[in-house]
């Protein structure tokens, strides 16, 4: 295990971070949309969101990624592996984040919605300016938990041909015959990234106004 090999791992971890961060935020946006569909009162939208969540929670991420990777070319769409990876990860995390958010949306006190109605807010405005920010705050710890899971799950995207931290470690292990130090280093890098995420989240939680617990 040399410094050079470690540097290669660090470089690859940038790809891990890039893919994960993009997927987490895209997934969160999509999760809010799924929540809106479930709260719309429209049966088709409600059913569609439910079906989506059931599928992406019920099928292993690895299978999802392979499905998307193999399905898209069949219907005439060819995307680079980076895009495929981000789509796969964000759809999957959206399903989980939507479930997390459900608890938050259900926990928004009805009085806060009534006061928005009396202030002249439309349903959409109430959803955007009142319900969503409060639901996000209430479920913040669960959302961070999901973000950490996605950071680790991003190791699966190597199956669509993307070279991120895990794939790089596999490549290096195969070419240097030193699997142990290399995978140990990769594990350490994942651990450090997630510790930083957890620390930042804790700080953000303290700084966020309007958490019902305070």
């Amino acid at each position: 295990m040399t410094w050079y090999l470690f540097q290669l791992l660090l470089q690859a971890s940038l790809m891990t971070i890039f893919v994960s961060v993009l997927s987490i935020f895209a997934g969160l946006g999509f999760a809010v949309l799924l929540s809106a569909m479930r709260m719309s009162g429209n049966r088709v939208l409600f059913g569609g969101a439910g079906l989506f969540i059931s599928f992406f929670r019920g099928v292993p991420l690895l299978v999802q990624l392979l499905l998307i990777f193999n399905l898209l070319p069949v219907i005439g769409i060819t995307l680079p592996s980076l895009a495929t990876a981000i789509i796969g990860l964000s759809l999957s995390t959206a399903a989980y984040q939507a479930e997390n958010l459900r608890g938050g949306f259900e926990g928004v006190p009805i009085g806060l919605v009534e006061s928005a109605e009396m202030a002249g807010f439309s349903r959409l405005q109430t959803f955007i300016y009142i319900r969503t920010p409060i639901a996000l705050r209430m479920t913040f710890p669960a959302l961070v938990n999901e973000a950490i899971l996605i950071l680790k799950a991003s190791s699966l995207v190597s199956v669509v041909g993307l070279v991120e931290l895990t794939k790089m470690a596999q490549n290096l292990a195969a070419s240097t015959y030193q699997p142990l130090p290399i995978f140990a280093s990769a594990g350490l890098i994942y651990l450090v990234i997630n510790l930083i995420v957890a620390f930042a989240a804790r700080r953000a939680e303290d700084a966020l106004p309007g958490l019902p617990a305070k």
């Binding site: 006190p109 009085g111 806060l112 009534e114 006061s115 928005a116 109605e117 009396m118 202030a119 002249g120 807010f121 439309s122 349903r123 405005q125 300016y129 009142i130 920010p133 409060i134 705050r137 106004p209 309007g210 958490l211 019902p212 305070k214």
Partner: protein, 262 residues
């Protein structure tokens, strides 16, 4: 009739089998303070919430300055107003809740300016200038950048009053505005309400503060078991209660008052 800010005709309301309001008829005169009193479960909060269409009456009509709220009569009987019609009908009303219902993720200033920005589409600067004036009116200018969790209950309720006033309503509805406050904080909220009353705001106040009803109210309405039993000036209601049920209700307050003095 044209002097009525709110006109309630034959309003009934039930939750399942429980009848909450029985054939209520009430005219709320413009520029006056009407206080709704009565024991718990008498329907006074429900009646107030019906005026804002936060509850739907099962029968009867409610007119806000002559315009129907919630339901309109059409060729095929009454129908629910569209969301836009309801917003227009409600735009004359400001509502203050027992639990304040401030949005916890916004500062006091944010709470008061939000509707001006989102509903009235004002610029941030314009909305905040108006919001600041409203906060000044309730004596909370220095607390403008505090979040609700950093304010006392009395301060939160005053922010809620400022928020309701920001949209320039002609009628203010108060749903037990001081019931969640300790006696010390109750005073500061009642003072703000007193000032509003002096300015000629039309107010409907559901309250257990009999003293406030007696001194500020122009009309006192006594509800019991969903019926409007009594509706008159405070002098007539409190000086010589003619109704046995009202007398009994007021007695419990006198008892409590006597107990507190000891």
């Amino acid at each position: 009739m044209t002097d009525s800010a709110i006109s309630i005709k034959n309003v009934s309301k039930q939750f399942g089998d429980t009848v909450v309001l029985r054939d209520i008829n009430l005219e709320v005169p413009k520029g006056q303070v009407s206080c709704l009193i009565g024991p718990s479960g008498s329907g006074k909060s429900t009646l107030l919430r019906c005026m804002a269409f936060l509850e739907q009456a099962n029968a009867g009509t409610i007119l806000i300055e002559g315009e129907p709220v919630g339901f309109v009569d059409g060729p095929n009987g009454r129908r629910r107003q569209t969301a836009a019609e309801l917003r227009r009908a409600r735009s004359k009303i400001g509502m203050v809740f027992q639990q304040f219902n401030l949005w916890p993720h916004m500062t006091a200033l944010g709470n008061v300016s939000a509707s001006l920005r989102r509903v009235r589409k004002m610029s941030k600067a314009e909305a905040e200038a108006i919001a600041m004036r409203q906060l000044e009116k309730v004596d909370l200018k220095e607390r403008a950048h505090h979040y609700p969790s950093q304010l006392s209950g009395g301060q939160q309720q005053r922010v809620a009053i400022a928020r309701a006033l920001a949209l320039d309503p002609t009628i203010m509805l108060f749903d037990e505005p001081t019931s969640a406050l300790d006696p010390e904080l109750t005073g500061e909220v009642l003072n703000v309400m007193r000032t509003l009353a002096d300015e000629g705001m039309t107010m409907v106040v559901v309250t257990h503060e009999i003293g406030f009803a007696a001194s500020v109210g122009n009309k006192v309405c006594f509800l019991d078991h969903g019926k409007l039993l009594f509706h008159d000036t405070p002098e007539k209601v409190f000086a010589a209660p003619r109704n046995p049920r009202l007398e009994q209700f007021l007695d419990t307050y006198l008892d409590r008052g006597a107990f507190l003095v000891q």
